[in-house]
Symmetry: C2
Subunit: 187 residues, 2 copies
């Protein structure tokens, strides 16, 4: 199934082909070597003063970290995300080297995550980011402490069968991707 973006200008394949499924194949397995290139790409993202205010905690299906993350998923995410091969917790360092608030912490983490998802797509993996989880519980479960802060989760894996999704979710899964027109985005 291709959901390639319909673009006015040609763009890089990995960015055109990247989309966020909710149907993952529960039998597909990923290892840390499989995700090496994606984390390597994330590592080379730019950041304010090269502070690199990012860290990633990875669980692979079947391990203890994965189980902790699954345990704190909310709502519909708790239904589909456990089928992913890996769940990645993204963590931002909210402070600068001098201990002040880093206004670019989330912005730079976002850049690093984009590098991750683009490389993962290039390597044939599917990714889906989530904000729906119990952040306080997961912070304790994973022992994340200040100035670090959990921001998002990324499900990574292989595409599964959309027919396993609840009926009201299937259209979004198989339908076209939508974005605001370029004229609203650039001025």
């Amino acid at each position: 199934m291709s959901k390639r973006a319909v673009t006015e200008y040609p763009i890089n394949d990995a960015m055109a082909n990247r989309w966020s499924p909710r149907s993952f194949d529960p039998t597909a397995v990923l290892t840390s070597a499989d995700l090496g290139p994606a984390f390597e790409a994330a590592r080379w993202a730019p950041s304010a003063n090269n502070l690199q205010p990012w860290q990633f905690i990875v669980g692979y299906r079947g391990d203890e970290t994965f189980a902790k993350i699954v345990n704190d998923l909310s709502g519909f995410n708790a239904g589909w995300a456990p089928d992913a091969s890996a769940l990645v917790v993204t963590v931002a360092n909210t402070h600068t080297a001098s201990g002040r608030d880093n206004a670019y912490a989330r912005y730079d983490l976002g850049q690093s995550v984009a590098h991750f998802t683009i490389q993962a797509t290039a390597d044939g993996h599917m990714t889906h980011q989530m904000g729906g989880f119990d952040i306080d519980a997961l912070t304790i479960a994973l022992g994340v402490t200040e100035p670090w802060e959990i921001v998002s989760l990324i499900a990574v894996g292989a595409l599964g069968d959309p027919n396993k999704l609840p009926e009201d979710r299937r259209d979004a899964e198989t339908g076209p991707r939508e974005r605001k027109p370029l004229t609203e985005v650039v001025r």
Copy 2:
């Protein structure tokens, strides 16, 4: 001059080759068509609830928007950034559709900017993001109003002569790029 990232795992060329110069060619010209693919890539970034909380205001060297941005550059940025062919102001929508704070506004803007810089690099352009500018003055000069908020600037152009930089900046310009080791970034 190549400053390709030295990686343990192979990564996409545009991400490996992307770096942030301070020497831009003051004679190189870019048009809105030249940056079309980069903005198209930015447009297709993922975001929480597909809110797409990003907007880009572009000045091309010689136009009024470019002059306004140059006017509010701070410190060393005021020296090198005017040589860029284009200056892009990145703007985040800080609210969700229901008017609440969007905790993912900067994170998602960062993802969109990463898409922009990766596509721009693939197209042969150099990019350099900046936080050093008078944000209040530029907000007024460009008429940006709530819930939108200026976050960063991106200089885009062609690589210039590093020997034109002040002596104490030349080493960083021509030296190797540095990042924390992968073992510090992933756990």
